[in-house]
Amino acid sequence: MRKISLLIIFSFSLFTTYAQNFNFGTITLDDIDFDRNKIDSNANAVVLKEFGTASVQISDRTGSTELIFEYHVKIKIFNKEGYEQANVVIPTYKDGTREELISAIRASTFNYENGGFVESVMDKKSIFTENKSKYTVLTKFTLPNIKNGSVIEYSYRLESPNLFNFKTWEFQSDIPKVYSEYLVYIPAIYNYNVSLRGFNKLSDTRSELAKECMRINGTPIDCSKIWYIMKNVPAFVEEDYMTAASNFKSAIHFELSDQQMLYGGSQKYTKTWKDIDYELTSEKSLGAQMKRKDLFKDAMPAILKNSTDDLSKAKAIFEYIKKQIKWNNYLGKYSEDNIKKALDLRSGNVADINLSLISALSAANLDAEAVILSTRENGIVNKLFPVISDFNYLIAKVNINDKSYLLDASEPLAPFGLLPLRCINDQGRVINLKKPSYWIDLVAGQKTSTSYIMEGKLEANGKIKGTITTHSTGYAALNKRTEIKKYSSPDEYVESLDERLPKIQILKQQIKNIDSIENILTEIYDVEFSPIANASNDDLFFNPFFINPVSKNPFKLSMRTYPVDLGAASDERVIINIVLPGKHEMTEKPKDLAIGLPNGGGRYMLKTLVEDNSLSFSQILQFNKAIYQPDEYPYLKEFYSKIIQNQKADVLLKKTK
């Protein structure tokens, strides 16, 4: 009983200080008449007011400390597109021993009818609990009597045993918010690292001391009481060429750094990198697995039998591990059990594979380290302080002479030194068994380039016959190999390619180095096509941009808020030489062009000429960076636009007598 009365006093004191939760059901004419033009004329619904509070308390149910989160929101719905705001889904986490609980759900719809507010209270029967999967429970409900102009209001309470991340608060969602306030009570015995993500600034924040906000075994504990307020928050809209949304969405994140024990001493959670280094290197599913040289002693002579220098040794080991363990499609920075088991089963997660690689490289006396990172989908890691839960992947780094190579043996089609695109995400942390850890840039270790070379001849019947030879490296080769490997045979791949190009017929094909992935992937196609669009008289019209034309501008929006992330720099070249029957004069051609992006970000060059009996055409398109900032967006858009305009023009050839 004592606890409860404390709570009441507590909430009373809350009432008299700063901001507060608002009363349920206090709908005003201002709410009903709210003009969306004040915040976003395109909004289908708007959060008028949102209030959340989180604190730590001793649970009556379990007797242990729990996080209590209370949420309350009022949303105005403008039109049918906004109705989905009335369908609410609250995901909660559970596992064998612990679970999060949702309670005290209250929800009502308010409609203004005949000069008065009509409240439709949601029935408790309309609340459904769905055990979505082993770890996820969804609490779902929908509000009754939704109409254009309805105001909905709901609140609930969440109890969570997870204190580690406290409770994240998302200021931004898919609809704009007029007012969003989060109030947290952090007991003095806990220390949290707090980070604000996203592009929006807090409108207000303030903190004060809350005396004796909780009691553990009779000992009173003070709290820091902190408000975070954001006003007029725009809706979060995902854009193309963007990495994980969580990188950009405005939100407050917490991670527990340490906890004071009641009877002296403290337990550290988030630590310095020095602590993390010690922890990871002594961890039995990470550091210990980097040292299993013994597992490879016997196999090593056979693996290295053709290798003389260190680089060729490393390559041989990399190939060996790729063949030895198949990826089971799970990510991870820790071995599932241990690498011996993975080697026995010949299957394992990313960490199993790459820890095996590190151990094997070490067994050959090469200098190998581990790199932990966060994949593109997982978001960018916090670099202000170590947040070990941000990392979800582990790769190997091998240092040979003055050079180092980043290796991921989980992707069988990736050559030595080229990380799969999922790993290219800002920076990773190098974990060394003996030295302190440090940051390293995660960049593609190989250039991505494609070149198309066509040698052809314009035949008397108006058809062009020739050979297109394509060379691909880097991600271009990786993607193409992955695509080809989806088919039972290269022939079936080419057949489907042929079907997709209705105006070009592939007469013969040859694909080289599908499996020797350290080499350039080469495709050779004998093709035939009739490119003459409108031939009249002896004039020949011909559009030279039939190989991989840029027909659509990938950047359609006029504004960009977030960086454009293309993943990797790229280079594409097209060279066409066509032998013409007899002498021709070129009366029209696409403008020869050389344009660039600011600061050497990229360039496009085009040149067409007729010399003697032959037409030659060359085009280069380069992007020299992986990431372009929002202020570079207009240039990128215009760059594409210029290319598209130029590619509309034809070559016009006149026969000279």
Partner: protein, 635 residues
Amino acid sequence: MKPIFIFFSLIFLAITVFSQENYDSDLIPSNLKNRANATIRKEETVIDMRAPDNVILSVKKAITVLNKNGDDKARLVLFYDKSTSIKSINGEVYNAAGILTKKFTQSNFSDESAADGFSLFVDSRVKHYLPSENVYPYTVVYNYEIRFKQNLIIPDWVPQDEDDISVEKSSYTFISKPTDELRIKTQSFEGKPEETINDKQKILVWKVTNLPAVRPEPYSPGRKSYQTSVKIATKNFTYYNHSGSYTNWQELGKWNYDDLLKNKKNLPPATVQTIAELVANEKTDKDKARKIYEYMQKKTRYISVQIGIGGFQPVSASEVDRLGYGDCKALVNYTQSLLDVAGIESYYCIVEAGNKKVSLDPNYASMVQGNHIILCMPLKGDTTWLECTSQKIPFGFLSTFTDDRLVLACTKDGGKLLKTPKLSTAENLQIRNAELKILPNGNVIGTMKTTFSGSQYDNNEELIEKAPLEQKKLLAKVYDIDNINFNTVNYIQRKNTDPEIIETINLEMPHYGTINNNRLFLKLNAFNVQNTISEVRNRTKPVYINRGFTDEDTIVYNLPDEIEKNLLPESDKKLKSIFGEYTCRTILDDKKLIFYRKLVMNEGTFPPETYAEFFKFTTEVNTADNLKLILSLKK
């Protein structure tokens, strides 16, 4: 007891034989590897209908995945709910050489809610398993047993349900009591099942062998209309404590009406009064119905909740009245109840909804042929159909979701098969008139007005209530022209029985015309280019075009003064084929360049050998659509 014992030993025998199979992938005949991503080595499905509330399904399936595209074919997904329980599951994985590498049991399956993504709540769940193998080929063998506490829905047999799977051997065994009355529908199955009857059991066995994979062909009829299948329905059935009997649509419709729809039409007195007042001044039944329909649309929204027999039975009208939402069954039943108040007769109709037209099988009645409910009002000969789950759709319009197909009307006199109205080629119109101006720098500006009706009304309905910014984003995808900018966008929705959407856009296309060496390059057809289709040689299946349409575009380009005249090349085109007609014309009238295009695409089923002609037609249309005009500029 004896026959049961025999059955068990039979099963046991089957298992032992099965486990000695050799799954070496080299043993797959090469004709079955051709075009296949996976091969079913052997599949044995046994259904034992021991009692109406005790039907046992046991399946043993061995499938070899030949390449990465086939991975998903090895996935096993089993649904269960209160009337369906999974008794056992286990399996093995074999490598290319047929050596056992892994075993798995029920604990390796993930267990998830079967939520379909649009329902708020569904009480059925799934267990699924996908082996994670990266070395091809590999073979997965599944054994599982499921118990159904009902016999209204008996699993169909479809030995080859996808084009890229080949089948070595597959069989379907149905065991029932000799006294059970069965109706069996077989499709594309040569011959008769093997039949064994004794005084306790009747056993029917269907078998197929050596079905090669087929190349997917575009514009083919739906697989379901020609693939080999066996469907079974029993006369007497039990389902969630309901029972009944039927042998045809009339009786099934009657059971629906008498049992599932009974006592669901109560409305609170206030609503009855509101409706009575609402229609008091309307003269005809149709006008009354329109008022009621609009009332329903304004009051409700679509929310799907499926629990137990709720999959087939609506919640009551009073519940919908109170909550303001419901699923298709609930909203149709609610609308029907409101119409009853005004004394207007209507039928609750079961339909298979979707863009592809699928009719209920007139010769074979069964419970799961439809997935949606619509409402039909006979109105003394002026039959009018209502789609009750959309707040936007006009009164009396069904849309491409449920047009032109057979549906089951559940009436007090029993079930009747009715045909929904067809949207014809001539009705599916897109009429466009644009008045554009070309500026000396190649920029194009102007206004474009387009009227969409019939099925083309459908394609554009989702745009009309979107926020302006969202509309512009979507329009940039429809009119995919570099840098296109929409200054104003306006929609008018004509909510007739033959509804129309009128789209008026004021647009800008910077540098749409390219100026190069004193010439202006202009693609005349900016907005409506026919896509090419893939070239498939040796076509085997008929060419099926689901719905025809007619597009008519007139674009007037006002030319800048700098243009020199008399330079118009021959570019008019007229094409005619069994698939449609195409006309495009360009007229130069002083400073006006007028481009006219009309494309009529016919619907229907055409013989396989006509595909080449279809390919030629679409390719020629595409070429003509991409025509570029080159105009000389004055020096």
